[in-house]
């Protein structure tokens, strides 16, 4: 015991939380993702009260607290409201560097969609650029069915 005490260093116990998840997308989200997958179309929902069009769609308008019942097809193009080039790595990143995020306000919507930016050199990206959705060849009904947004 005396020997152990002399040699004892602070032990680090490594572990991971290994709980698998199966999130229900819900009927509203499913319709949106299905349209991405099957038709390469982007659909939003409109609030009957404030008329805001939401992409990604949400079943309830947060500002008005009323159900958004109307579906609206929106364009695959929009304006770049912000972007960032990321210089660090972690396990959830879907691609290698250059990893670029953007907030793209699609024409016909009232806010921006968070997504990846690609097909352009980081140094060439400017706020206000027109961007278009580039769909993935293999699509599974997920937000990554849009591969990224590239200059239109």
């Amino acid at each position: 015991m005396a020997k152990a005490r002399r040699k004892a260093r602070n032990v680090v116990y490594a572990g991971r939380i290994k709980v698998p998840y199966a999130w229900s997308v819900g009927a509203t989200g499913s319709r949106f993702l299905t349209a991405l997958r099957d038709d390469q179309e982007i659909w939003g929902v409109k609030c009957p009260k404030c008329k805001r069009v939401y992409v990604y769609p949400i079943k309830n308008c947060g500002e008005c607290f009323v159900p958004t019942e109307q579906w609206v097809k929106v364009a695959n193009v929009g304006t770049l409201e912000s972007f960032t080039v990321v210089h660090y790595k972690h396990d959830m990143q879907p691609r290698k560097r250059p990893l670029i995020y953007g907030l793209v306000k699609l024409d016909g919507t009232d806010g921006a969609l968070l997504h990846l930016i690609g097909g352009v050199e980081p140094a060439k990206i400017k706020l206000g650029m027109r961007m278009k959705a580039v769909f993935a060849r293999q699509r599974a009904g997920s937000i990554l069915d849009i591969q990224h947004f590239a200059p239109a």
Binding site: Y13, I17, A22, W23, S24, G26, I58, K59, G62, F65
Partner: protein, 397 residues
């Protein structure tokens, strides 16, 4: 001093094993709408929101932020409270304190869970210490099985006694359209016979002796919302507000091994604190109805003793005498209890909502057949944590 507070509205979603048609935010929104409609209020009337669930069951970090659009929280004060199984009652207590403080008049308490979205046992095991406990622990079922075994050993209780609790819960659930488990086949069969059928059934899978499937609660997707209002406003919203008489909790233990398996000392202590505050000397006589968080059957024998409704070892007698049935002296879980629905973040809040409903006389088919002056509601979780909220018809002094 503080303000007096009452429950004035309650809503829940239909508790189901899986709600694939909605995501979590949408589920929350459903319950909020039902509660607002119940109280005839709009979201604009709500001054603050408290929400709770168990993070790892849905794998969402900062749920209060994530659900803002659905809970009605946009541009309102919002807080998240989470305490494991007791989350629902902790959320109720937090909402109560918001109003009692005098700083908010009408507060919405939301509890929810989509247990279908994850491996519940896998997530529960992470509640225990990663170094000392997690590698050995068998999850919630195993822990409760130990308690059940000890109780049987100390007081000679039998599997049939445990099953009598399960039968009561499941029969009561038949009156509750919102409950998850509706064992329709039990309708019309006397409890004694049901007990024999359950104990004798080979299909009734043994999980961890003495616990079988019939002794346990389900995993549920569900949400509930309760609205608390301040005196002066509560009376205008509800014809019979359910006044908070007293509330207390005890979360004494940290490690599973420290828990005293002989008696549930935390629920005893919390109950005594509440009875003291409310001036209750004879609980069985004075309490009209209970909504107890009983996660498994044997708790329904033992914990009613710890609360003080009867002496140690007398729990089974109360059950078999029908004291806790719908037409008994003190009905327990007219809603069907946790054994009939267990969306964990909502579960304890539903106890409060159901207790309030009983006081208000609005529980429909599951209303107990008498004027309810006092409803005793409890929450349970973690290492035998106990939350109590006592609701009543009279505005407290």
């Amino acid at each position: 001093m503080g303000k007096r507070v009452a429950v004035v509205g309650y809503g829940q979603t239909y508790q189901r094993s899986s709600r694939k048609d909605v995501n979590g935010v949408e589920l929350i929104n459903e319950a909020v709408r039902v509660a607002l409609a119940d109280a005839e209020l709009t979201i604009k009337d709500i001054d603050a929101i408290v929400i709770g669930n168990m993070d790892h069951f849905e794998g969402i970090n900062y749920v209060d932020m994530w659900s803002a659009e659905g809970s009605g929280a946009v541009m309102k004060p919002v807080m998240k409270v989470t305490t494991g199984g007791t989350t629902g009652t902790s959320v109720a207590m937090c909402a109560y304190y918001h109003v009692a403080s005098g700083m908010f008049d009408k507060v919405l308490a939301i509890g929810w869970e989509k247990n279908s979205e994850s491996d519940t046992t896998g997530a529960i095991i992470t509640a225990f210490h990663p170094v000392w406990e997690r590698p050995n622990l068998g999850g919630a079922v195993a822990g409760l099985a130990i308690e059940a075994s000890k109780y049987m050993h100390d007081y000679g209780a039998t599997e049939k006694d445990g099953a009598r609790v399960a039968v009561r819960e499941r029969l009561h659930a038949l009156n509750n359209p919102y409950a998850h488990l509706h064992q329709e086949w039990m309708k019309g069969i006397p409890p004694d016979q049901l007990v024999d059928l359950i104990v004798g059934s080979e299909q009734n899978q043994l999980l961890a002796y003495p616990l079988r499937m019939s002794d346990m609660c389900p995993r549920t997707d569900g949400a509930a919302a309760v609205i608390f209002a301040v005196e002066g406003k509560a009376e205008k919203i509800a014809p019979i507000p359910a006044w908070v008489q007293a509330t207390a909790n005890r979360h004494n233990f940290v490690y599973a091994g420290d828990v005293d398996m002989a008696r549930n000392t935390t629920i005893a202590e919390a109950s005594q604190a509440v009875f003291r505050k409310a001036g209750i000397k004879e609980p069985l006589k004075q309490i009209d109805v209970c909504e107890l968080y009983l996660p498994y059957s044997y708790a329904g024998l033992k914990w009613i003793e710890d609360i003080g409704f009867c002496g140690y070892g007398e729990g089974p007698r109360l059950l078999w005498d029908g004291v806790t049935d719908m037409d008994g002296e003190m009905p327990i879980n007219p809603s069907g209890g946790v054994m009939s629905s267990n969306a964990i973040g909502a579960t304890a809040l539903i106890r409060v909502g159901e207790g309030a409903l009983q006081v208000m006389g609005r529980a429909g088919a599951r209303q107990v057949n008498r004027k309810v002056n006092l409803a005793f509601c409890s929450g349970f979780g973690g290492c035998y944590w106990a939350d109590i909220m006592l609701l009543g018809r009279k505005k407290p002094a």
